[in-house]
Each structure stands twice: as C-alpha cells, then as structure tokens.
Symmetry: C3
Subunit: 386 residues, 3 copies
C-alpha cells in the first residue's frame, strides 16, 4: 500500500536524522559529565586545603608543638588517602566507582582522622600518628559502610541523611578520639596547661578561616550541580550564625572572649549543618548555625573544664566540643527538619556511629599504647632536629 | 492531493524527530546552566578566601591588635552576608534572583564593609564592628540600587560601568570609612604610632597575596563564562603593573621600600581595573595597573602624612590610599577607555557614590559614637581573655 | 519517478530538521567549550596561589630575609607573567592561541623562575631579581620552544612527554639557578649559616602545604577535562608517597627529622610525577612519589653538604635537591613507564634542557654580577625601611 510506503519512508527519515543527532548528543552528554567531574575535582582541592592548611594550622595553637602538629597533619593525610584509595579499588566495604568520588570519600576519611588526632594531639609520637592512621581508616570505612552503604542490611542505603558528614565524619572522628585518649592521656598530662601565644593564635585563626572559607565545598562535594548553590547558601548562613553566636556566648560566659572559642566554635555551624545542608531552607540553616555556635562555646567554656576534671583526661583540641556535640546536634536536627525522613534509620545511624566510634577508638588507643605511652605532652624539640 | 499528503507526512516526521530532540536539548541546556552556576560558586569561594584570609590577615600588620582584627573580620562578614541575603530575598532595593548571584553580591557588600572597617581598625570595640555592619549594609545597598539597579530613575540600569566594583565597592567602602573616622578617631589616637613587627608584617603579606591571587575571581565573578579568560588576563596584568610600580615608587619616594607599601599598594591595580576589567585590552589594563600602583604608593608615602597631619584623624589601614583613590581612578578611567560609554551616567554614578558614602559614613560614625568613643587605640588585651 | 520524489522529500525533511538542530548544537558546543576554559581558569588561579603564597612563603624559612623573599616573589611573578604574555601575543618562539592557555603557560614560566631564584635567594638585590626575571624568561621560552614546540626541528612536537613539567619547569629552573650561583655566591656566603626559627619554619610549612594542596591543578592544568580526575589521583598519590618517604628518610638519615626536609622533600613527589602524571596508573604514581621523596631527602641530608663543601657555593633553598634531581627522576621515569614513548625524543629533551639551563644560567649569572655582587647574604634591613 502507499500508506505503508510512506511509513517506511518516514521511518527511514527518522533513523537518518537520529543517526546524525544521537552520537553528537551522546558526545555532548559525555562532555557535560566530564565537566561535572572536574567541578567535583575543584571541590576536592578545596577540601584538601581544609585538610592540610585548615586542620593543620588550626592545631598550631599549641605553641611548643606547632611544627609537630603540621608534620603530623602531613603524615596523617598521606596515610589515609592511599589507604582509602586501596580499599575503594579493591571494593572492600563498598565504595564509589568514579575516580573523583573516591578522592572525595578518601578526603572525608582523612578529615575524620584529623579530627580524631586532634583529641590526642601532642600525646603521640610521629610513628604513632602513622599507626593511628592505619588503624583508624578501616574502622571509619566499616562505619561508613554500615550507615551509608547498607552494610549488613542494617540501614537501607540512602535512608540515613548525612550529606556533609555531621555524624559519620565529625561525630565519628571526635568520639573515636575520645576513645583513644581514654588510654593515651594521663592525669599529669591533663594538668599540664597548653600554652599558646600571639603568634600561635594567629596561625590557628588562619587555619580556622581556611576551614570556614572552603566548608561549603566540603558539604557540597558530592551534591548534584543544580543543588550546589542552595547548599552553599545554607552552609555559609550556618557558619555566619555560629560565628556570631560564638562571640556573644564567649563574652557572656567568660567576660572577655577567648580566641580559642573564636577559632574553633565559629566553625560549629559548618559541623552541624552537614547532615541537612542540602535539605533545609536558609532560615533553618542560620538557626542551626546559631545553636551550634552557642552549644560549642558553652561546651568549651563550661563542659570541658568539668568533664576533664572528672575524667582526668585531656582532649587537646577540644574535638568533643567542636566536632562531637555539634555533629550530634546536626544529625539529630535532621530528625525534625527533614521531611519524609526515616526516623528509625536516622536514629539507628547515629547510635551505631556513636557505639562503633567509641568502641573502636578505645581498642585502637590500647593498641597505640603498645608503641609507647608517656605522662607528659611531647614538644617540638623531642622529634625535630636542628 | 498527493503533494499536500507529502507535506503532512513531512510535518509529522518533523514533529516526531523534534519531540525526541527538544527535551534532550532542553535538559542539556539546564545541565550547562547548572554548571555555569557552579563555576560562579567557585568564584564565590575564591572571594570568601579574600574576605576572611585576605582582608583579615592584611589587617594583622597592627602587632598589638592582630587577633582582634581577625576576630572583627569574622564578625563583620558574619553580619554582612545574612543581612544582605535577607534584603535580597525580601526584594528590598532590587536584588538578584539566582541564589549564587545573591551570594556574590552579598560578598561584594561584605568586601566594601571590610574596607570601611579598615579605616577605623583598632578604634572600635567588637560590638561596634557588629553595629557598623548592621548600619553599613543598608547604606551600601541603597547606593548599589541607585547606581547599578536604576533606583529612583537616576541612572539607567546597565549604563554605569563598574563590573569589578572600583566605585561601588572600593571607593564607597573607603569613603564611608573616612566618614566614620571623622567622628571615631581623635588627635591622640592619630599621634599613637601603629606598631608592626617582622611577624605581623609576614602575616600581612600573606593576606595581601591571598587577595592578589583571587582578585581575578572577584572582578570576573558575575562575568559570562566566555569573558572570564580575557577578564582574568586584564586583572592579572593590572596587578603585575601595580606591583612593579609600587616597588619602584616606594624606593624612589622613601629610599628604602616599605613593606606596608608592598602589601597594600601592590593591590591597587586590582582596585583600579575593577570598573573596566571586561572592557579594555591587555595594554590598557597593564597601564591602569602601573598608574594605580604609583598613585597608591604616592598616596601612602606623601598624601597620607600630610592629610593626617591636617585633619588629625587616623585612617588605620590607609584605605583612602589603597581603595579610595585607586577606585576613583578606575571609575574615571572607564570614561576614557570604554567605547560607547554614557559619560553622563558614569560621572553621575561616581559623584553619587562619593556623596552617599561620605554622608552616610559620617552619620554612622556619629551613631557608633553613642556606643562609646575613646582617645586611645584598643589592643588585643582589652577584649580578649586568657 | 515517484521514488525520486520521495527521496527529494526526505532530503528536504532532513535539511529542515538539521537546520533547527545544528545551530542549537553549535551554540551548546560553544557553551561547553567556554565552560572548559573557565575550568582551566580555576586551575590557573590554583597555580597562582602556588606561585605567590606557596613558593613565596616556602622561602620565608630564612628568618632574617622573610619579608624580602616575599617581596622578591611578588616582583618575579610580576615580571614573568607580562613578559611571557608579550612573547605569546607576538608569536615569538611559538605559543598558545587561547588566552587561558597563555595564562597557564606564563605561570609555568613564573614557577620555573621562582625555582631558579630560590637557588640565589638572599644573594641578590631586589633590582637584580627583576633583572633575573627579564633574562630568565627568554631562556625558558627558548628551551620550551625547542623541547615542546618542535623548535629547530630538534624534537617532533608532542613527542617529548612532560605534561606537568618535571623537566622543562622544575629541572630547568633548578639547573638554571645552579648556573647563576656559580657566579653570584662566594665562599664566605657559603659559610654563613642560614638561620630559621619556629615562626619562620611555620610560615615555610604553610607555603609547603599550599604547594601540596594545589599541585594537582599544576600538573593537570592543560589536561582534557576527562583526564583531570585520573591525573589528580596520580599527583595526590605521588605527594602522599613522597611525604611518607621524606619522614622515614629524614629520621633514618638524621636521627631527628628536619622540618626543612618535611617542608621541601614532601613535595618531591609532585615534582617527579609531572612528566607522567596523565600517563601512568596509581601504583606507579605512588612508587614514583616514594622514590622522589627518598631521593630528595637523601639529597638534602647527604649530597647537599658534600656538594656545597666541594664547590663552596650556596644553593639557598636547595633547589637542586627538591626540583633538580626529582625533576630529572620524573623525566627519566617516563622512559620506562610510558608505553609507545619515543625514547630518543625523551632523552634528547632531557639532555637539551640540562645543557641550555646550565649554560644560559651561567651567562645570566655573569650578567647579574654586573649589577653588583657581595660576599655576604643580604638581610631584610638592607632594603626595607621603617
């Protein structure tokens, strides 16, 4: 029939046109996808600045241990990244396929490790930091797998809300660190006051600001391109909120404000907004930031002296107060602020993380003690020559 | 007729093919647009590094006030950004729709505020910096609306050429700051020399370099992707020009060169290229940079001592010399270098900005004085504990 | 015939559809290409951070010359970039067409110049650094043209493998610097020990970390978007490898580790991975890093004292040990690790670079000596006022 011949012709026309368009279309889709990966790469570089310059120099506030703190940062990062890459490429405990996703997940592991090391800063020899890195990464990856990747079927993959890692990065690292110092610090160390001076303070503020600046890239690292701007607004607002709250809380609680509060608690908004950074609106983000800054400052000013007096243990950088409590605040806030959240999964993820962090941290502390344990904090002069 | 049937068939073929291609095409356009926004986000992060690490540490040159300067930077930024977001989301005095554009415009406001605060650095208590931020942002936004957004019908939107903010950001901030110090500084303060030392100088140079490095992202923040490379070349050449000119001018005018000149006037090229950064060629850009560096150094070395002696007022960071005069130079240069410029609009924009900045700055200075005023500069010890 | 009419109609349908699709397609291709250029721009900004903050502050380790080192960095960069732009826009000795490629190539020239200046740091007056910049860039561009651009027909363009510049940037700069110090340093200078202190060390570590962080953008600056992630993984692994190897080698060779080793040799992986950064797998990259870190530390700890004792010449920053030998290691590694490499071209490129660097460096050293030569290192106080 003539009509069927028309249909044939139409079909041929369609195939001819599509055979020109489709490969061009596919090539452009590949180009766009490659560009999106390079944008993730940019955020990965921002996170690297946070890991080395940010965390590294934030810890330089210990006047007599500044160069050691920076060296330790170098070593911890250099242990964590290759080890996590290895894990991911062997497909142990899940793991991303794309190279750039692996880089970012490895950086998250390194961030959590640096937080953990902050608790024990100055109580470990260099070789013990390296050992800590080797032991920490598997524990971190195990928790990540359980909570985020559906490991053991405990929590359905995708049900635990923690985009920027309030729980799996910050709270995990801080609580693991507390586990470690249970063994690695002593009453005498606790009594040795940590000295800082004008210059170590300024370096510490530099580290703090580098963390602040790049925090939106940390939280938004793996977010889809279209969600990056809104995530950035939330993270920036949370940080502004915590910075302001820190100043007012510090002045209120201490009469004169403390530079350590400013350098640390100002970042608590970034810690706490992690879980919900791509899921709440700007007002909620600013509020979370204010609460986190106030909580963190209160924790530094009031809880820290009481707790340390009670336990006779020293948390050098106060990671419980900057990463632990604000991280938990962020994870819990998701329960109330995120629509359609699986409350059971969220609660399970938080509790599992707390338990694994403390338990594995405690065991790792015991293992580290096998490589030496001392009653006084180390100083730069002990391991650094010239 | 057979022909009309052919036409029908062709039409159907066309519709069928297009119905496959168009959604795919639209989806890719959305993807591309999202990627362009993420690129703006990257520049927004660069600007954030300038605000905190750049401006913050540039001001650390005051030896006894370094930690306060950094804290004040934190607070000023944390006040300005949410306040500007609020203004933009309430659509008061115009404002961008896209979230990432709002972030960048808010950062511009914060930059101008930090410049302004540089004039009064060390003369305000922390609470006064916060107050300054709250009062500055509405004045800044009002001027921005008048000059850039066609407010009151004064200048047709788009007619005032100031892409990188030589006038609306730099000159506005500096002149507002001069308005503030008319009230807030005293003869005695003017006579107290500002002390710096080797370490505060090195921190200041660090801040300076961070500003230099990211300046192309400041000027090119809102420029279309295709114009970013040429804009970057111009800004880099202007900065190279001002850096070289600063060195030669400083040696010529002072015998030995001054580190404060290097740390500050080297940036004058970035200030002055702002207005025309996406509109001139590389030779013009390099020339603007050289002129700006020479002008700024001359202003620091010759005008500053005379002017301060005359007025008995102290401009702590010399913002008139780095941001004020070079900013005006940049805005005026547009009159001569940009083709098809509306000279009336350009001149109006400059004059309006000057008047509003000085007037509102003066009033805000009076208001700040209500929260306290003292005859000696503050030091770190007064507000910082431990 | 009816069939031929069908063919006509089909053809018309095809042309109509394509005339809608093709311009839209072309516009999107332009958009994508502009986005890719902005991504290069981002890497160019990262490199700028390395040039100023990275190299600048790494050289602040000389306590009495820190502010001069930073000023010299400013001047060197400000001479090199415009001069290289000028060369490129005049199409002398080849050169890229795209503006952003020119920026990156100019930054590479500036990096090599800074490496070279590191050898003579503290032995030159400011005006001599500027002169050095003016003389260095043509020599660098000549070698670049010979080795990478097929100049004189010596090496077929594209046959020399050196993506991240192990040879043409690092080894060239270091060997040129050695040529310069043959003339510019004296026995007496060699005997004056370089003093550093806690604070200068911390600034130096800051510079080191900034280099480390942004190194993937240096190596991947001109790489196609799709190859950026794999290149980043390689560079990061190489840096991790050299950082770990540096620590262990430093402790082994010196008993206590040296901060100068950590700040410098930790970067050797980045230097050495340059040649092959987009061509090897992660295991090879990590291995190159370990070897480079060990080689560099050995060179600092063992070769440097012997060689300087032998020659009575001072290489202030030890650029031979950080950039020279690891750079050569990287270029030679390509011979063994890259498939389908032209071994003759690779060997020729390395040898030509070595010869040109030393020869032109020696001549430039003689020319610099015409502007003054002294037997003691300079200090900040000599050229900086106040």
């Amino acid at each position: 029939m003539r009509v069927s011949r028309f249909m044939w012709m139409l079909g041929i026309a369609f195939v001819v046109v599509m055979s020109f368009c489709t490969p061009a279309y596919a090539a452009m889709e590949d180009d766009i996808s490659a560009l999106a990966d390079v944008q993730k790469y940019n955020r990965a570089i921002h996170i690297m600045a946070m890991l080395l310059v940010g965390f590294g120099f934030l810890m330089v506030f210990v006047k007599k241990y500044g160069r050691s703190a920076v060296t330790a940062t170098y070593l911890l990062v250099s242990v964590a990244l290759p080890l996590y890459f290895l894990k991911a490429s062997l497909h142990i405990l899940g793991g991303a396929e794309a190279a750039i996703d692996r880089v970012i997940l490895a950086e998250f592991a390194a961030a959590s490790l640096l937080i953990c090391a902050g608790a024990a800063l100055g109580r470990l020899k260099m070789i013990q930091y390296i050992l800590l890195g080797l032991l920490f990464v598997p524990c971190y990856a195990f928790n990540e797998w359980l909570v985020l990747d559906g490991g053991l079927g405990l929590i359905t993959k995708g049900n635990f809300v923690d985009t920027g890692g309030s729980i799996v990065i910050h709270a995990f690292g801080a609580l693991f660190g507390l586990g470690v110092i249970m063994t690695m610090t002593t009453k005498k160390e606790f009594e040795t006051e940590i000295e800082s001076d004008e210059t170590s303070d300024r370096f510490s503020l530099l580290g703090s600001m580098v963390l602040w600046v790049f925090w939106p890239s940390f939280c938004g690292a793996l977010v889809a391109p279209a969600d990056v701007p809104a995530t950035a607004v939330n993270v920036i607002l949370a940080l502004c909120g915590s910075t302001l709250a820190t100043y007012f809380a510090s002045v209120t609680l201490r009469k004169k404000f403390s530079i350590a509060d400013i350098a640390n608690a100002a970042l608590a908004g970034g810690v706490a907004i992690g879980s919900t950074c791509d899921k709440v609106g700007p007002v909620a983000a600013f509020t979370i930031g204010i609460l986190a800054g106030a909580l963190s400052t209160f924790s530094f000013a009031v809880i820290q002296p009481k707790l340390e007096g009670l336990l006779k243990k020293a948390d050098t950088c106060g990671v419980l107060h900057l990463h632990g409590l604000p991280g938990l605040l962020g994870g819990v806030a998701a329960l109330f602020l995120v629509e359609d959240i699986s409350k059971v999964s969220q609660a399970k993820g938080i509790i599992v993380t707390i338990l694994i962090a403390i338990a594995t941290g405690f065991v790792v502390g015991k293992m580290l003690a096998a490589a030496g344990r001392r009653s006084e904090p180390y100083t730069d002069a002990e391991e650094i020559g010239d």
